[in-house]
């Protein structure tokens, strides 16, 4: 059992100089066999294990992570959370996640710092205006909060945006989802890890999967750097490395893995209290609690597993940022990094069974899966435990690439996130 975090435990531990806190999760060696193994200890994988243990009463579970938990895209993303997607299937999926976010800190007894500061999506031309207004209506029909702001309202809601009609891509309006916002990326991974560990899930770090053992049509176990582990069910949640693991099992996925970058500025006093995204000029920005501006860039065009990106991409993003926010022109950038994102042709994820019994994939979240972490884990756990999809992820099966029933979110996701 985990000891509860509270103001009292904080005071109590201060008497021992915070040196005697209980470990948030154990560091076990792998057992010989598990009922289910999750490959990939990012937010999605850890959430999957958490809900498998909590809602499906599976206790003999392991999460196998090649590095440290949360060290993949979970720890590299710009943490934008929103659910204002265009199509019904996506609206259902992402709003399911948003609803879990709203109570997640309480549920996990771990502060994930979910902050509903609102997300704006700017329009810069007639097409953007039409597209975003259409999305506003679609969202409302699906019960998702979304407002349209005209230029004066944009200026009022976020005064530092340059709303001059004379810039290259003038601001012509914006959508606003007030329930949207940001959360603390590491805390999500750590909170789910602590919760899962408390229910007996083995979280095994520094353990890379390098083979999938199967007979003709079902799973027998996984080969890892810590030896062979037997299991009948494997759920792969390896983001940019999904195809690598699929190849081990002799499967092909409709994915391409590309570098995606982000960067942060030196910390400054509070200046922007919301999240502003612009698909057309390809720039988005928010401010962290430390005061850094968190800026997201785009993907590079080519497949690469290098976890870095090219300079031109950052340059393009910063040009757009400076035109929209001239006030940032003297800021210095502190850090830049990249992640490897797995992109599906229709910009929607795959949460699905495969042609091999006992092998499941949760991938294709590409540039925008952080927002879905709790919902993705919840639905993937259901899919693994019941061997069939939940109604909310039925549309996100791998067979849609055969049937042609795609969930084309390029309009709504466009740049991403």
């Amino acid at each position: 059992m985990k000891k509860k975090y509270s103001i009292f435990s904080l005071i109590k531990n201060s008497f021992s100089y915070h040196e005697n806190w209980q470990r948030a999760w154990r560091d076990p060696e792998p057992k010989k066999e598990y009922d289910a193994i999750i490959v990939g200890g990012g937010g999605h994988g850890l959430a999957t294990a958490y809900y498998l243990a909590k809602e499906h009463n599976l206790k003999n579970i392991a999460v196998v992570e090649k590095g440290w938990i949360g060290g993949g895209n979970t720890g590299r993303n710009t943490t934008i959370i929103r659910s204002n997607y265009l199509w019904d299937a996506s609206a259902g999926l992402y709003d399911h996640a948003l609803k879990i976010w709203e109570n997640l800190s309480q549920e996990l007894n771990y502060n994930v710092m979910f902050s509903q500061r609102g997300v704006m999506n700017l329009a810069h031309n007639q097409h953007d205006v039409r597209e975003l207004k259409r999305r506003t209506h679609a969202n409302r029909l699906n019960g998702i909060d979304c407002e349209w702001l005209n230029v004066e309202q944009v200026k009022k809601f976020c005064p530092i945006i340059n709303c001059s009609p004379n810039i290259r891509y003038p601001v012509m309006g914006s959508t606003l989802q007030r329930r949207a916002g940001t959360a603390r990326h590491d805390a999500v991974a750590w909170g789910y890890a602590r919760g899962a560990d408390g229910m007996g899930v083995d979280i095994i770090q520094n353990c890379e999967v390098n083979g999938i053992k199967r007979n003709k049509d079902s799973i027998e176990g996984i080969e890892t750097t810590k030896g062979f582990i037997k299991t009948k069910k494997v759920g792969v949640v390896a983001a940019g490395h999904s195809s690598v693991i699929a190849n081990m099992a002799g499967l092909r996925l409709p994915l391409e893995s590309k570098p995606l970058q982000a960067l942060v500025s030196e910390p400054i006093k509070p200046i922007i209290d919301t999240v502003v995204m612009s698909n057309a000029v390809h720039a988005y920005v928010s401010q962290s609690d430390k005061g850094e501006l968190v800026i997201g860039a785009g993907t590079d065009s080519y497949i690469s597993y290098t976890q870095k990106g090219t300079h031109e991409v950052i340059e393009g993003t910063l040009k757009a940022i400076l035109e929209l926010y001239p006030i940032f022109s003297r800021l210095r950038m502190l850090r830049q990094w990249g992640g490897v994102v797995d992109i599906c042709p229709d910009a929607s994820p795959i949460i699905s069974k495969t042609s091999i019994k006992g092998l499941y994939f949760n991938c294709g979240w590409g540039t925008g899966g952080f927002k879905a972490t709790p919902g993705s884990g919840h639905l993937f756990a259901h899919t693994i435990a019941k061997d069939e999809p939940h109604i909310l992820n039925a549309a996100f099966n791998i067979n849609r690439f055969v049937s042609g029933d795609l969930v084309d979110e390029h309009g709504a996701a466009a740049v991403a996130h």
Partner: protein, 90 residues
């Protein structure tokens, strides 16, 4: 950031080029005879290799010609370039 050697123009910065994805995907000869599964394979499924990959590039801000490259996607090192229709040297 890397340099690509266009087989027609020589070494140039990679941002002069556009990416064309996995190479040697052959368009099915008899499209009407294909099953949905085979179409999905051709249209959507990719090897997405971590390691040596054969791929297509277009020198879009140069001679505008297509060619192939063998590149290691784990470190972006280009091992060879070869013209369309040719076989990779390694």
């Amino acid at each position: 950031m890397f340099i690509i050697k266009c087989p027609y123009c020589g070494e140039r910065d990679h941002n002069e080029f556009s990416y064309g994805g996995e190479a040697h995907l052959v368009r099915p000869k008899q499209p009407t005879e294909l099953s949905d599964d085979q179409w999905a394979e051709y249209l959507f499924m990719r090897k997405n290799i971590k390691g040596l990959q054969y791929e297509r590039w277009n020198h879009s801000h140069g001679c505008r010609r297509w060619f192939n490259a063998a590149r290691d996607t784990s470190n972006d090192k280009i091992h060879s370039v070869y013209k369309i229709g040719e076989k990779p040297t390694k």
